[in-house]
């Protein structure tokens, strides 16, 4: 222990039989990445910081909103509108100034996540969607990182510890051993749609934090090759066991394949939004229709052929409520980001608007029109 005050801070757990200074030192040296600072992330961050984890990375691209506060107890009313990562780090640094906090106010994607995972010993999945969950799973398997999973729905939660190295041999099971294929969009309702009891992610997140501590300190029996479930209604909990090696089929085999995975789109029914250039042109003369360029502001070619507004994909979520038109047509360079934008808008507006994405993007649209001109 580096000094007396740090011994005093952790004294109550150091004196635990089977824990001691060795376990505390393991926590003080550990680097943990917490993805998602929401319902699960809040208790995980609070208890891991309090427990003396040496370095915690916090990943979240969202801002605090009023509807978060019934369960995301790290935040208060004055935090509304602030980025979650900075609001969380401000509170956590007061709780334990010895923990190094790294803020990542970004959305985790398959182009940034492998580099970030390299920096950490354990990854904690506190996300609220399947595309992130499958991406985190695959990245952890590729990078050989153990990860602690939890998810909640209404009154129930699940916790599991995945991809733990066993004596340098094959790692333990992962999320794809349970559910090999991503559910389609809308197949499983999220908390915003189905609701969640405020206290539930508190309970489940604390179990998740406890699993992280057990994993780092080598104490207890973490939920390896096991799926824990808990229901607040009847207080019943179960531990299910499962077999490994169900996961192989859909798993990217190397980093190259990982980069090419379309996690965001895997669970989207693409045809629902995509429109070819001919239909796109027909839309140009329709009333009450807004064309949105979701590329970054500096991206070329510029689009002057028709009226459009520029809302980069990263800012779309914040500006969604300002979109008043009945029909919205998204476009981007190649049609990938606009499809993502369309699925975000569809999730936001439900059946309230007709939403489209230009297939092949503006580059291909311009090519077709150049041909027609010549």
């Amino acid at each position: 222990m580096k000094n007396k005050s740090s011994y005093e801070r952790y004294q109550r757990q150091i004196i635990l039989k089977g824990f001691g200074e060795a376990a505390q030192n393991a926590l003080l040296q550990a680097k943990v990445l917490v993805i998602g600072a929401g319902g699960l992330g809040c208790p995980v961050l609070q208890y891991l910081t309090a427990a003396g984890i040496g370095c915690i990375g916090i990943v979240d691209d969202d801002v605090v909103s009023l509807s978060n506060l019934h369960r995301q107890v790290l935040f208060d009313t004055t935090d509304i509108g602030k980025p979650k990562v900075s609001a969380a780090a401000a509170k956590l640094s007061l709780m334990n100034p010895d923990t190094e906090l790294r803020e990542y106010q970004i959305r985790l994607t398959n182009s940034n996540c492998l580099d970030i995972f390299n920096e950490y010993d354990v990854v904690v999945d506190c996300t609220d969607n399947f595309s992130s969950r499958y991406m985190i799973n695959d990245a952890c398997v590729l990078k050989n990182k153990p990860f602690v999973y939890a998810a909640v729905s209404m009154f129930e939660g699940q916790v599991a510890v995945f991809n733990v190295s066993k004596d340098g041999k094959q790692n333990s099971g992962n999320y794809r051993d349970l559910f090999p294929v991503q559910p389609e969009q809308g197949e499983v309702l999220n908390c915003a749609e189905a609701g969640v009891l405020g206290v539930l992610p508190g309970i489940i997140g604390n179990i998740q934090a406890s699993e992280v501590i057990k994993l780092i300190t080598g104490t207890g029996d973490p939920l390896i090759n096991q799926l824990f479930t808990y229901n607040t209604n009847d207080n019943r909990s179960f531990i299910f066991t499962y077999n490994q090696n169900q996961s192989a089929s859909k798993m990217p085999l190397n980093e190259q394949e990982f980069h090419e995975m379309m996690y965001d789109l895997e669970c989207v029914n693409n045809q629902q939004f995509e429109m070819d250039s001919e239909h796109f042109d027909a839309m140009l003369i329709q009333k009450n229709t807004l064309f949105i360029d979701v590329r970054e502001l500096h991206e070329l070619p510029a689009v002057t052929e028709f009226e459009n507004v520029k809302i980069p994909l990263s800012e779309l979520k914040q500006q969604m409520n300002a979109l008043k038109e009945e029909q919205i047509v998204f476009f981007c360079q190649s049609g990938v980001r606009s499809l993502k934008a369309a699925s975000m808008a569809a999730e936001h507006f439900g059946l309230g608007k007709r939403i489209y994405s230009l297939q092949g993007g503006i580059v291909s649209w311009k090519k077709i029109h150049e041909k027609q001109m010549s």
Binding site: G36, G41, C126, N129, E156, L178, Y242
Partner: protein, 79 residues
């Protein structure tokens, strides 16, 4: 009357079955179980779910005896 058995239903699958515990006529294996469930609750066919027999998640047709506890587990998305 045929002998009945109980099935535990987790998460949003309950919206389809209408209850967290449902009672069906005793079946002898999980293949038969799915046939019975899909007839009674056709929407279950579209759902991704795990079947557990005696708290062990199974991947192949598995024998169910009259003492077995059977559970249906969906993936959860929330966090």
């Amino acid at each position: 009357m045929n002998k009945q058995m109980n099935i535990m239903v987790f998460g949003q699958l309950e919206d389809i079955t209408g209850a967290a515990i449902i009672s069906i006529d005793q079946v002898t294996d999980t293949e038969q179980l799915l046939n019975v469930l899909f007839i009674r609750f056709p929407q279950l066919k579209e759902k991704k779910m795990l079947i557990a027999v005696d708290q062990k998640i199974i991947y192949e047709n598995t024998v169910i005896n009259n003492q077995s506890t059977v559970a249906l587990l969906p993936p959860f998305s929330g966090g």
